[in-house]
């Protein structure tokens, strides 16, 4: 092409297609509605890429820049992030399961059985909820091991390690409270073992059984307690602790690396 040539009508098919492509792109992404949601296009300059992380509500817990070594998979194996991701999946599938479940000893078991047979994708949701819950317990332990063996609890991150220990306990308790809800033999007797362990607490054995399990055997009071703890109280608490946990990572200077 010569420089004198004016940009005008498209000459051949390829150019025509290019024009068409630009028009479609404009219609899709430069319209009033799209731009009301996403104020700018794909961030393709370093400045915009930092801005998008700093200003987007979902991304703003990240710093805008991190050290090169921290994106090496073999450093963290994404374990903490995956634990959080399991929590998100559990929240989504858990909400869906709540639509079909009534925490009553007369109905709970039938509800789960009906969920598996009568509800579209009900079985899949239950399976996902179960397996991701087990995965979350495993991942939280692996994450703790990673943090320990890399010495990432050292100053100034002492307190965040303590928050992590709290989150470990919350994860275990969340999983345990969920264990009772299907109200089958597996659930009942596993929780009965836990009930016995709680009852052996020195000084507070009976109190533990009455307050946490609602009595000296597992029944409706235990089910409604576990349900309420499982679907609202503990997830809320865990979410708050997670927010603290993630925020502290940034306040403490990002991930640990050698001084």
């Amino acid at each position: 092409m010569s420089v004198t040539e004016e940009p005008g009508k498209p000459r051949n098919l390829r150019e025509r297609l290019n024009v068409l492509q630009d028009r479609i792109y404009d219609k899709l992404f430069h319209n009033y509605i799209w731009q009301s949601i996403f104020r700018s296009g794909y961030p393709n300059t370093p400045r915009n890429q930092m801005l998008v992380v700093a200003t987007n509500v979902f991304l703003h817990l990240h710093p805008t820049r991190i050290h090169r070594t921290h994106v090496k998979i073999t450093y963290t194996y994404c374990l903490g992030g995956l634990t959080f991701f399991m929590f998100i999946v559990l929240t989504i599938t858990g909400v869906l399961l709540m639509f079909y479940y009534v925490p009553s000893v007369d109905r709970a078991y039938q509800d789960i059985a009906a969920l598996e047979t009568n509800v579209k994708f009900g079985l899949l949701m239950r399976n996902l909820h179960r397996w991701t819950a087990h995965a979350m317990v495993i991942l939280v332990f692996l994450h703790m091991m990673r943090v320990f063996y890399t010495g990432a609890y050292k100053p100034p991150r002492e307190f965040n390690w303590v928050v992590g220990v709290v989150l470990l306990v919350l994860t275990l308790v969340l999983s345990f409270t969920g264990y009772l809800l299907p109200w089958d033999q597996l659930a009942l007797w596993a929780v009965t073992v836990g009930h016995g362990i709680g009852g052996s607490a020195p000084y507070l054995g009976d109190e533990t059984q009455i307050i946490v399990f609602g009595g000296f055997e597992i029944g409706q009071p235990a089910l409604i307690r576990f349900y309420t703890l499982h679907v609202i109280a503990l997830p809320l608490l865990a979410a708050i602790m997670m927010a603290v946990h993630f925020w502290r990572i940034r306040r403490d200077g990002g991930m640990a690396r050698p001084l």
């Binding site: 890429q49 930092m50 998008v52 992380v53 991304l59 990240h62 710093p63 820049r65 991190i66 050290h67 090169r68 921290h70 994106v71 998979i73 994404c78 992030g81 991701f85 399991m86 000893v105 789960i112 059985a113 598996e116 899949l124 239950r126 399976n127 996902l128 909820h129 397996w131 332990f141 063996y149 890399t150 010495g151 990432a152 050292k154 100053p155 991150r157 002492e158 390690w161 303590v162 220990v165 345990f176 264990y179 299907p182 089958d184 033999q185 597996l186 009942l188 007797w189 596993a190 073992v193 016995g196 362990i197 052996s200 607490a201 020195p202 000084y203 597992i218 690396r257 050698p258 001084l259």
Partner: protein, 323 residues
């Protein structure tokens, strides 16, 4: 004042963190955000496939009148259930786990050096002592579990040299083990035997019969104060009317000393003498690794080696009686 002291304490190596240069940095978008996105997608796919093929268990409707045998806690509490078999319930189920969590929470306040943070196995021998501790703790846990199930594993043979007690219990100055009438002589079958079958006499005091009902002054009342039954009796051996020393030895002192003092102490001391454990960080590595390995080993025992009545058997012999 307190803040000052704290600042001094945590500022031991008063080196400021060196500023990283721009060349060492990457942008979170796209370098990190994309990794997060891809791992989320991979895990979603993996778990969806898993959930299509493997169903979550759903047994019969819960029935308080039908007890499955064995009934087991969820696997991550199996370790606690296992501990209950070997020591007092309050210790195995509540106090020891609490101590473990307390230990976890205090780790960063014990090892406060900033040296080698963010490095995998940062001290010179960290990897080596980790591997050794994993092997050691696994062997110790399986050995202790086997010993405490002496009759089924045959470890009672190790103590069979202790003579059987004579039928009449007049002469027990030499330690002896009391067998059931007409039964073959067995060595120590479980730790509980120390309070139940072992008999001896020192300075005219007979074990266990003179020591298992010592009046305990704080039982539910001190002088005129009624403690209203706050339950000192909830720890086995301390409660009721009497203070049961043999039982306290067998179910609390001996198992706890072994798992908290003796076995951790032995490995830490050995590695220290070898020169492989040098700093607090090294000691913590041994303790953390040992505790976590024990936790896993106990979980494995509880999940795969406990059959009906919590008997120790091979995984392939476990039969669950649904009741």
């Amino acid at each position: 004042m307190a803040v000052e002291a704290q600042r001094q304490a945590s500022a031991a190596p008063a080196r400021p963190r060196p500023k990283r240069s721009r060349e060492e940095e990457v942008l979170v978008w796209p370098n990190l955000v994309f990794i997060e996105f891809i791992s989320a997608v991979l895990f979603t796919i993996t778990f969806t496939i898993l959930s299509v093929f493997i169903n979550a268990p759903l047994l019969n409707r819960a029935n308080l009148n039908v007890t499955p045998n064995p009934s087991k806690a969820p696997w991550y509490f199996g370790n606690l259930q296992e501990l209950l078999l070997h020591m007092d319930k309050a210790w195995g189920g509540v106090l020891l786990p609490t101590i473990f969590l307390g230990f976890l929470a205090t780790i960063p306040f014990i090892d406060r050096s900033r040296h080698m943070q963010g490095v995998w196995f940062g001290t010179k021998y960290a990897a080596r002592i980790t591997v050794i501790t994993v092997i050691y703790a696994t062997v110790v846990i399986f050995a202790l579990v086997s010993f405490d199930a002496g009759e089924s594993t045959g470890t009672e043979r190790l103590t069979r040299w202790i003579p059987a007690c004579a039928e009449s219990s007049e002469d027990v100055s030499w330690p002896c083990l009391r067998d059931e009438v007409g039964a073959d002589h067995l060595g120590i079958v479980s730790t509980k035997d120390i309070s139940k079958r072992l008999e001896f006499e020192v300075l005219g005091v007979k074990w266990p019969e003179d020591l298992d009902h010592i009046a305990w002054p704080f039982n539910d009342s001190i002088g005129d104060w009624d403690l209203g039954g706050i339950g000192l009796g909830s720890i086995h051996g301390w409660g009721g009317e009497h203070f049961n020393i043999p039982s306290i030895m067998a179910e609390q002192v001996i198992p706890l000393t072994l798992v908290i003092v003796v076995f951790p102490g032995m490995i830490i001391y050995t590695l220290f003498r070898l020169g492989w454990v040098r700093t607090r960080r090294d000691v913590l590595i041994v303790m953390f690794t040992g505790a976590l390995t024990s936790f896993v080993a106990l979980t494995l025992v509880a999940s795969f080696f406990r059959g009906q009545g919590q008997d120790l058997i091979w995984p392939w012999k476990i039969k669950v009686d649904e009741g």
